[in-house]
Amino acid sequence: MVNETKSPPHRWRLELIGVSKRYSGVTANENINLRVAPGEIHGLVGENGAGKSTLMKIIYGIVRPDAGQILWNDKETTISSAAVAQKLGIGMVLQHFALFDTLTAAENIALGLSGRPSLDWVVDQVKVVGQRYALPIDPMQHVYTMSVGERQRIEILRALLQSPQLLILDEPTSVLTPKAIERLFDTLRVLASEGCSIIYISHKLGEVQALCDRVTVLRRGRVVHNCKAAEESRESLAVMMIGDDPPVLQEKEPPQSTKKLVEVEGVSIRFDDPFATPLENISFTVREGEILGIAGVAGNGQQELFSVLSGEIEKPDSGTLRMVGRNVAGMNPFKRRRLGVNTLPDDRMGRGAVGMMPLHWNLLLTNNDRSHVRYGFIRFGQVMESTEKCISQFNVIAPGVDAKAENLSGGNLQKFLIGREILQEPKVLVVSQPTWGVDVGAAAAIHQILLDLSSRGCAIILISEELDELFQLSDRMAVMADGNLSAPVVRADFDLDSIGLAMAGKTADIPSQEATYASAI
């Protein structure tokens, strides 16, 4: 596989030979070999904890490998710091933006460049480079007025102004609309055609397959596959990633009951915080045994809707909120839980769970009914018993009931937390991003848990950004865009194109629903 590209000046832009890194007994990277040719778009995929981020930190000079060689343009190099990496010509675009909201785009870019360039030069370059790579932004615009797509463009431009020979992108599409993803891909292809190598880290296998020339698959810190993307499918990549066939879920019977457990009517709320998304006239119902999927790109009001449903925001400005036949506006989450309304937010650590507290304390956080607390005192025996039950029933891998939540892997903690809510036999469950940062095996288990729960009559509201998940689980689906919720569509009418359009904010294109739903019943 030598010289697949048209006689470049160097054989390999970057070559890693036998790179290893261990953290106090845990192997993050073991004997990694990786070659990236000039102008190649190289995908790097793997489950959470497979070692992707450690490897990127090694390449970007943030982490030093314990063993192995790094060759840059065929010469052995030590990348001892991020500054050295930048000097070599390595650029990095992080998943979480590092931008100052109150500064302009140009000011943010200037801050990230070495050698104190003048602001005029930066403004000029932003226009020139932005034009060339189809990354239009107004250099004088303040960041807080920009969309996430525009913010990402700033990050990419910042990297490009340093004329990189290798650009690393970590999960760049997690906050982008399908349209914006297409534009990003166009930009990356132009870059690659000019000889810039790209390492593209993602867990969205469809994107990797569409964009990349070659793909390296990591599993448990090792390279398990290195292949041509064009010769693989999403399914085959998934199989390489998890080392097994992803479990298949059975078809879901449509819910029979007509009893409405959640009735939301005309809910609107505004916030003092300029960065929160106001909710506009949200209406929907969920029936007994039904799963309502709520799709949408992050930051379009899902967080705010979750908080209104959970009771963290006790009362919306206007509209009615009925659950299990009761008006719940003004009730906090504790009171709503007494009615059988349980919730689980997407940020597990620090909200759904307290990392430094042991599991049994975390169980008590929401599972604090009369069997666990009596006369104001905690019944430790019962709490321990329930924690053990939660661990065993939901196959949580944990050292014990007193293991700290932060010591569990993402998937195991999520299984524990979902178990914690399900052991309370909720009548309504609101769950956000239940499989975010969870490996494929645990995700399948969590999906099955949710399906089982709904078959026992629980009304589930599933807020997710993963369309696969929503398509698999939902009986009906609605899309959030800019604080508005499109009217839900029944399963038979799920259509990727119209949902994609709705996610981009074009709700008008979604077919009318209540009529469709009525006809479907």
Partner: protein, 361 residues
Amino acid sequence: MLLRFEARSKPSAAVFWLSPIIAVALSGCVAMIIFALSGLPPISSLVTFVSEPISSLYGLGELFIKAAPLILIAVGLAVGFRANVWNIGAEGQIIMGVVCAGGFALSYGGSESAWVLPGMILLGAIGGCLWASIPALLRIHFRANEILTSLMLNYVAGFWLIYLVHGSWRDPAGFNFPQSEPLGQSALFPTLIEGTRANASILFAPLAVVLVWLLMNRSFLGFQLRARGVSQRAALYAGFPANRAILVGLLCGGAAAGISGVAEIAGPLGQIYPTVTPGYGYAAIIVAFLGRLHPVGIFFAGLLMALLYLSGDTAQMSLGLPPSIAGVIQATLLFFLLSAEVLVNYRLRRGDRVAVETEAV
């Protein structure tokens, strides 16, 4: 060759509990340096400094009298601190306890009733609670920072006491000194240990230690407070009312401070002075953190701080140093404690050039 801090992957539990001991040891070193600079033999002076105050039964009694209010207030404050409620106003709450209980004692202290003392304790607690409820309500209704409001109210409370003691409460037989009449016998705590000034009020300290331990470690309310302390977002998600945590956190400190004020006037002082508290309300904050906000830790920290108070007199009498040396050592102790805190989350590493460059990026 430089030293630099490197973040630990998780906080070190060992250092968490060791840091008070490290701080005490380093403070001892500083004390020895001060002694040496003053021309005194450092080691034997340090031994004198810490051992002489408690070398007699009477001295032990004094230790308990000083330690009891510190421990009582510190465990009360710790309830709030564990819930991220920062009551800096114990000093004012002591004074308001004194004002409420003192007014009652001056009116009824002459009676032989056995209810005078319980009445004073109750009123002292109420006075402290009322004063603490002001920052609580300001916080709940106006989101006013309770650190500032509770601190500022200390001065307000101090002036109220001065007004009363200079005015209507002044002892007509007191040669115009700003002090009240001596309290009646039924308004005083009985002596607990013969031959000392230690009275029954010191028992409030161990009682508070046990009650607060039960509250924080066994009750659901305590769990809610602790959950809020480590993660306000988790407490919000769980539906634990934030306002209740603020109220409970401030009132526990207020009640403890108020009772300790009663213990002062109905104990060693026996009458009401404007200087009724020698800064117990502030020292108790140090005690609470020195004891790691844990009731048992606070118990020992309170004894240590009390010893330092007494050592001030020893420094003057036996070592010929100014008594403010005790204040210097107390502050040094807090300084080292807060410095050692850094080591809970960071470790010291010898840095090479690479590390320095990385930090410069």
